[in-house]
């Protein structure tokens, strides 16, 4: 059984009348990549800020590495790496100096620090940009610098708060691969995001948050099992008659049918060969069938079913 790295017990945080965190409890084990997933304003960043003792909270307890976290718990802070949502680097220092400065806040031995800084530069792929100032870096490279500043001291616990916001796909992939590598090297990761694909890709365990509550927690497989939907079949077809819709709806494991935007959508709960049976019904009625696809449930479906709303807006 892995040791508990982070334990949050019944955390409450209020902003005047707004309850930002409502008795939130979490336990994160050593070696996990723990995802905090939720829409904007769900309380992810507030949780992180409380965890880091930046924010005062109204109630609850936070322990990291088995010790109570406080603003002056420097021995705990020494083992934590933080990558903020906003890029936090000095505009006036070049890439190398920035990493060296932040690493120096944790590592006092110069020789060791030099090695760590080089490792960090290589890790984020900024070898060719050592002397560049942040304003000369692209958004993706800047994010990589931000990450290097947070992990250069080789922390045991790394907290990444939406590190891929406004990042191009190439840099995003590189960042996600980097996070997986950090985890393989032994670091426990806490990763917050409203991008469900990222969370699904890298997180070993996930907590879904909404309005300051933890609405679900588990591995992605466990989370998907929590909901009724196991498969959504979409078929491009001319609008079927009521009789056909009834026949499709009466097939085994089908619990909902709908026709929108030229597509027949069939929601199934469990079972096998659902697609073959539904296509059979349509062929019986000589329906001309266009494109057909079958989708497995996503974390968005999980969120939708639990909270009744989409995880994020379409433009995200």
């Amino acid at each position: 059984m892995a040791d508990t790295v982070v334990r949050i017990d019944s955390l409450v945080k209020r902003y005047k009348d707004l309850i930002a965190l409502d008795h939130l409890s979490l336990e994160i084990k050593e070696g996990e990549v723990f995802g905090l997933l939720g829409p904007n304003g769900s309380g992810k960043t507030t949780t992180i800020n409380c965890l880091l003792s930046l924010l005062a909270f109204d109630k609850g307890e936070i322990e990291i590495f088995g010790r109570k976290m406080t603003p002056t718990a420097y021995d705990i802070k020494r083992e934590i790496g933080i990558i903020m949502q906003n890029v936090a680097v000095f505009e006036e220092l070049n890439v190398y100096d920035n990493i060296n400065y932040f690493c120096g806040l944790y590592i006092t031995d110069k020789e060791q620090r030099k090695q760590y800084v080089e490792d960090a530069v290589r890790f984020v792929g900024l070898e060719d940009f050592r002397k560049f100032y942040p304003r000369k870096l692209s958004g993706g490279l800047l994010r990589r610098l931000n990450i290097a500043c947070g992990i250069a001291h080789k922390p045991k616990l790394i907290i990444l708060d939406e590190p891929t916001v406004a990042v191009d796909p190439q840099s995003r992939n590189r960042i996600l691969e980097g996070i997986e590598e950090l985890n393989r090297n032994g670091a426990t990761i806490i990763y917050t995001s409203h991008y469900m694909e990222e969370v699904e890709q890298i997180c070993t365990r996930i907590a879904i948050m909404d309005k300051g509550h933890k609405v679900a927690e588990g591995t992605k497989e466990e989370l998907k099992k929590m909901i009724k939907n196991t498969e959504t079949i979409s078929i491009e077809v001319k609008e079927p008659s009521g009789e056909i819709m009834d026949q499709v709806g009466s097939q085994p494991h089908v619990y909902l049918t709908e026709y929108t935007d030229g597509k027949l959508k069939v929601y199934c709960s469990g079972g096998k060969h659902n697609l073959i049976r539904i296509l059979g019904v349509l062929q019986e009625h000589d329906m001309h069938i266009g494109r057909v696809y079958s989708e497995l449930p996503t974390l968005n479906d999980v969120f939708l079913e639990i909270t009744g709303k989409a995880l994020r807006d379409k433009e995200d």
């Binding site: 880091l52 924010l55 002056t72 021995d75 802070k77 936090a88 220092l93 944790y106």
Partner: protein, 378 residues
């Protein structure tokens, strides 16, 4: 840890654009502008240059008057030069502005005709009044007691002064130098902009950098102290550059105690930095708003100290003198003024002490408010 923070704080601080613009380029540019604008006025400060007057004696030669006027004209740097002519030519010279006035000996007294009302006309009037008064005294003495005339004349020759003059100044009393003192005061107070960054860069609720620093195992007191010391050091360099440029390039006369001028400038800079640190630390407004507040506060202080309106400090002194005692810009410029005007350094060191007290007060205030450990919101 302190040295590491100090090193990078200095490195970063040296490259902050606002330091270069407001603390190095701006004072040099404004100093040059002042020099250009006041250059002509400086030359006009040579108040007692020789001027011309015409003397008309329609009743014939007055040897007494002539000898008095000759004594005024003699010497290496005479105050007046006289042209002896008739009334018509004298009037023409006055119209042509070749002379400042016409002194006419009517036989009983001197009369004066002038075309303007400046310093030279006032001197001519004073001369005529004094001459007429002396002539009356001697005439009366001759009529009443002729034997007393030599004694009376001798007494009149003695210039009895009822005012005991003591020269307190070792420097120049140039009114326009006040503008340069105020410029230095403004540069010193612009240090508030860099002082503000000490607070912003160390508070998690004001910047991402502050949040990252707060997450590190470096105690806030260490980070704050290093940043503050680095800003003091940067401000010292900027003040030294400003004083050096004004004194050695623009040739502004700071008197003969340049070391004390540098000391006042540097301490003034410390006061500016600590003021910004305090403003940045108080309240939960965002960094940009705090920067606007700091700039407004600096400009208000500078306005009240007379940078924009030369006699503002005098007006304040007449109506609300306490403002001049607590306005950092006024305290700094008064310090330079005191150094330049008084041979005694008592006033200077009083102002220096005031600056030190204010710097300590603002710094402590900044530390108290910035060292809070948790924030209600970020």
């Amino acid at each position: 840890m302190f040295r590491h923070n100090l090193k990078y704080s200095l490195l970063a601080g040296l490259r902050v654009r606002q330091v270069i613009i407001w603390l190095l380029i701006f004072p040099i540019a404004l100093g040059i502008m002042f020099k250009v604008a006041f250059g002509g006025i400086y030359e006009k400060q040579d108040l007692f240059t020789t001027f011309n007057a015409a003397v008309v004696m329609p009743n014939g030669e007055n040897s007494t008057l002539r000898s008095v006027l000759d004594s005024i004209e003699n010497g290496d740097d005479p105050m007046m030069k006289f042209t002896y002519t008739d009334a018509e030519n004298a009037g023409k010279l006055l119209c042509d502005e070749k002379i400042e006035g016409i002194i006419t000996d009517t036989g009983t007294e001197l009369t004066l005709e002038v075309a303007g009302n400046g310093m030279n006309e006032t001197i001519l009037k004073a001369f005529c009044d004094r001459y007429n008064a002396n002539v009356r005294i001697i005439t009366e003495a001759a009529q009443n007691d002729p034997a007393s005339v030599p004694a009376v004349t001798a007494a009149l020759m003695q210039d009895i002064d009822t005012v005991n003059t003591e020269d307190l100044s070792v420097g120049n009393m140039n009114y326009y130098d006040e503008y340069f003192y105020n410029l230095l005061a403004m540069v010193a107070l612009f240090g508030a902009l860099t002082g503000l960054t000490v607070a912003v860069d160390n508070q998690a609720n004001l910047s991402a950098l502050g949040a990252r620093k707060n997450c590190s195992p470096t105690p806030k007191s260490v980070s704050l102290s290093a940043d503050l010391v680095s800003r003091f050091a940067l401000q010292t360099v900027c003040m030294a550059v400003a004083v050096t440029f004004e004194h050695f390039v623009l040739k502004i006369d700071f008197g003969d105690r340049l070391g004390l001028v540098y000391l006042a400038a540097i301490l003034g800079g410390f006061l500016g930095v600590s003021l910004g640190f305090a403003v940045g630390s108080i309240g939960t407004m965002d960094a940009k708003l705090k920067q606007s507040i700091s700039t407004s506060v600096i400009m208000s202080f500078c306005f009240l100290s007379g940078l924009m309106k030369g006699d503002m400090k005098i007006i304040i002194e007449e109506h609300v003198p306490v403002i001049n005692r607590i306005n950092p810009a006024a305290v700094i410029s008064d310090c330079f003024h005191a150094l330049n005007v008084y041979s005694d350094t008592k006033v200077y060191f009083t102002k220096i002490l005031t600056m030190v007290i204010m710097t300590v007060f603002f710094s402590i205030l900044g530390f108290i408010f910035t060292r809070r450990r948790k924030y209600a919101s970020l």
